[in-house]
Structures are given as C-alpha cells and as structure tokens.
C-alpha cells in the first residue's frame, strides 16, 4: 500500500516517460500504471516505442524525461532493486550459442543464486529435458525461446516485461507461455507484454494499451481490443 493514499502500490508506474535517440524522440511522455496481478498488452506499429518503454522499465535504458517505478523502486535511482524484481524477456533469446541448454540454465542459476535442483525442474517445465545436452546453436528458434523462458522461471520475477514472447513458439509453446503468465499473475506478479497479434495472449490479457508515435493513444479492456481485431 502506498503510505499517503492507502491505494495498492503499482507494479509498474510510469509518468511522462520520454526518450530520444539522437534528435528523434521515440517516446514522448508515456504514462502507464499496471497493478499487481494484471496483464497488459502493449500494442503498436514497428518503431512506435514499445520495446524502448520495456527497456526503460527494465533499467537497460534511462529515460530522458519523466519517471518510472517498478514496485515502488525508481528505475534510475534504485536500479539494483528494480533488477531483483523484474524478469525481462527480450526479443533475442540472450543465450550462449557454444554452451548446451543445461549449461546456459546452470549459468543463469548461479547468477541468480538458485539451487542446482532448480535446473532440472525448469528444463522439464519448458519441455527441454531431451535437448538439455545439445549446444544452443543447434536448437531451433522456438526451442531457444523456451530456454529463455526457463531462465525467466528461475528468476521468479514480480514484474514481467515480455517483448513479443510468442514469436517462434509453436501452439504448445504458446500454451506453456500462457500457463506460466497465469501462474505468475495468480501469485501477484504483473506483466507488460509487447504484442503484434492479440490472439495468442487472448486468454491471459486484462487490457491493452496502444502506442502511436511514442504516445499512448488508446487504452481498453482486452475483450474490446479482441473484438476490434487487436487495433
């Protein structure tokens, strides 16, 4: 609860966030709140600023104006605290091609201070036990996505920032992704999901936000967005 108002602390609280690259403003003052237990889809055309917003919220980029907080921690001033709360699934899987699937997860487990027994369970959860000893360069794009998902499970994040999480996933992988999001959210986590298509996330989304030219143009309940064809 926030001290002053008694309202629940937002999982994501961005106010007037702006960011430019060179002289081009990619975000022009985005204000967005996501409550714990909520899944918000972030829609918009290529280059509209969706990924930039996720990178700012994950502390990978600094905003040039505005403020952003994750579970009450400022992304600039308290970036260390933010990182321990956030699970960021980037567009690229961020894996080491010369290491095996198991070695990649073992490395992540060490970095996250998780038990060795967790390695087997997360590989099993994402259906990669049979491919555990294969080098990542030999895995398909979908399998690499699952492996990145296994790393996300290890993180046990309170706030999920997912950049096109369904890309390269087969129907079974999409189901797995949705089951995990539903589990995390039931446990009080929040999720901000960049999407190009609403359909794969239809079962887990609560509402959608559309960014156009770096500004939030539309905000509506997920079922309304689905009825409008995800626009």
């Amino acid at each position: 609860m926030s001290e002053a108002s008694g309202t629940p602390l937002a999982a994501i609280d961005a106010t007037g966030v702006a960011r430019r690259f060179g002289t081009t403003w990619v975000l022009r003052g985005v204000t967005l709140r996501v409550a714990p237990g909520e899944v918000v889809g972030l829609l918009g055309a290529n280059g509209s600023g969706k990924s930039t917003l996720l990178r700012i919220l994950s502390t990978l980029l600094r905003p040039h104006a505005g403020t952003a907080r994750i579970a009450g921690h400022d992304v600039v001033r308290a970036s260390h605290d933010v990182r321990s709360q956030v699970g960021f699934l980037a567009h690229s899987p961020a894996l080491y091609a010369d290491l095996t699937a198991r070695e990649n997860i073992a490395f992540a487990a060490t970095m996250l201070d998780r038990a060795e027994s967790d390695i087997e369970s997360v590989l099993d959860r994402v259906g990669l036990m049979a491919a555990a000893e294969r080098q990542v360069r030999g895995l398909s794009a979908g399998m690499q996505r699952r492996l990145a998902l296994a790393r996300l499970i290890l993180m046990r994040p309170r706030v999920l920032l997912l950049d096109e999480p369904y890309s390269n996933l087969d129907p079974e992988g999409i189901q797995l992704m949705n089951a995990l999001i539903a589990e995390w959210v039931a446990d009080g986590a929040a999720a901000l999901v960049v999407l190009h298509e609403l359909a794969p996330a239809a079962n887990v989304l609560h509402r959608t936000v559309t960014i156009v030219d770096g500004r939030i143009e539309a905000e509506r309940a997920a079922h309304l967005s689905l009825a409008a064809g995800g626009k």
Binding site: L60, R62, A90, Y96
Partner: protein
C-alpha cells in the same frame, strides 16, 4: 550480496567464457597465430645478428602479447553482444564487479596460455637461454599479464558499447598500457640477461605498484562503465 556469492558469480562467468572458447577454439588459434607471426616477422627484420636478436627478445614477446591480447579482449565482449547476452548479464541482480572479475579471470587464463606459447617460441626463435632465476621470470610474466589483462578487460567493456569498438579499444588501451609494458619488458630483459645494467627487482616492484593501482581503479569504476 556477499563476497562469497559474488566470487561464485565471477567464477561462473569465467567458466562460461572459457568453455565457449574451448568448444570453438577459433579465438585461441587466431590469437596464437598472430602472436607467433609477429615474433617470426621481428626475427626476420632483425637479421642474423644473434646479439641483436637476443636483446630484442623481451620487447618482441611483450609486443606479440599486446597485439594478440587486444584481439582476445574484444572477443570476450563480442560473445556477450551476439544475441543480446550482455543485456541479460547486466540485468542479473548483484554487483557488476562480479562481471568484471569473471571476465578478468577468463582473459587472464587465456592470455596466460597464449604467453606460454609466445615465450616458448620466443626462446627458441631468439636463441635465449632459460635463466637460472626462471621462477622470477614466471612472476614477471604473471605480473605483466595481470596489468595487460586488467586494462584490456576494462577498456574492452568501455568500447563494447560503441559500434567502432575494434578501433576504439587500441586507442584507449595502448597509451594506458605503456608503463605496464615498459616495466614488464625491462624486467624480462634483465632476467634474460640482455640488459646487464637492468634491475629486475626494481622493475618488478614498479609492476606490482601499477597492477595494484589499475586493479583497484578499474574495480571501483567498472560499475559505471557497464551501466546503461
């Protein structure tokens, strides 16, 4: 996060880098080939004068280590940049100093192995006798490699954010490495007997001072270098 956990993280990063290198072998073979080529070219350039060749041995060895090292330092971050792994690495909770310590450890093992080959080839090619104080020579190689790797790992991290990193790294690194390489080269020369007036002990002490300063400074500053 406790120091023990940070050390565990640093070892994991070093293990990951060395395992990836062991599997691909591309970098080590390339770096050693470059170092040996530099030694051979210098050997030819110096001609048949045995005395001149012996005098140049220490300089040639450290020059080869420098150029080959630059390739290694750039590659150690290139592995992270491929597929966006560097972003994931900096997003892990805990101090970024563990990243620096891990990279430094991996690069030190890598450059150390390269130096073994370079020194062995240098001794044969430059007709240098192995000195009686060979443990002291190993200590100098250790201290020189530590200085080289500390600065190389640090500036490679700084340059990794730039598209022009291949050009930027030597520009940043070479001027800073002059005192370390000078001290390492003079100490090596004194031990190999090609500089009878040289005092290996004094150069070694200077090398220790440089190593301590550079290690301390880079560990203190690394957090802000890798910060977005």
């Amino acid at each position: 996060m406790s120091l023990r956990k940070e050390w565990r993280r640093a070892r994991a990063i070093a293990w990951k880098d060395l395992t990836a290198e062991r599997r691909s072998k591309a970098q080590f073979n390339g770096v050693v080939t470059l170092a040996v080529t530099i030694l051979v070219m210098l050997g030819f350039a110096l001609g048949p004068d045995a005395e001149a060749i012996r005098n140049a041995a220490a300089g040639a060895i450290w020059l080869a280590a420098l150029f080959a090292g630059v390739l290694a330092f750039n590659r150690s971050y290139q592995m992270e940049l491929d597929g966006g792994a560097l972003e994931q690495l900096v997003l892990y909770p805990g101090s970024r100093r563990a990243i620096f310590a891990g990279k430094l450890l991996a690069n030190f093992v890598f450059v150390g192995l390269m130096l073994v080959v370079v020194v062995a080839v240098g001794i044969v090619l430059f007709q240098v006798r192995i000195p009686a104080q060979w443990p002291a020579l190993i200590a100098i190689l250790f201290l020189g490699a530590l200085g080289l790797v500390t600065l190389g790992t640090f500036y490679a991290a700084m340059a990794s954010r730039s598209r022009a990193r291949d050009v930027l790294l030597p520009l940043l690194l070479f001027p800073m490495l002059v005192p370390v390489l000078l001290a390492a080269m003079e100490a090596t020369k004194a031990l190999l007997g090609s500089n009878v007036m040289g005092d290996a002990g004094a150069w070694a002490r200077l090398l220790i001072v440089f190593d301590v300063i550079f290690l301390t400074a880079t560990f203190l500053v690394f957090e802000s270098v890798i910060e977005v």
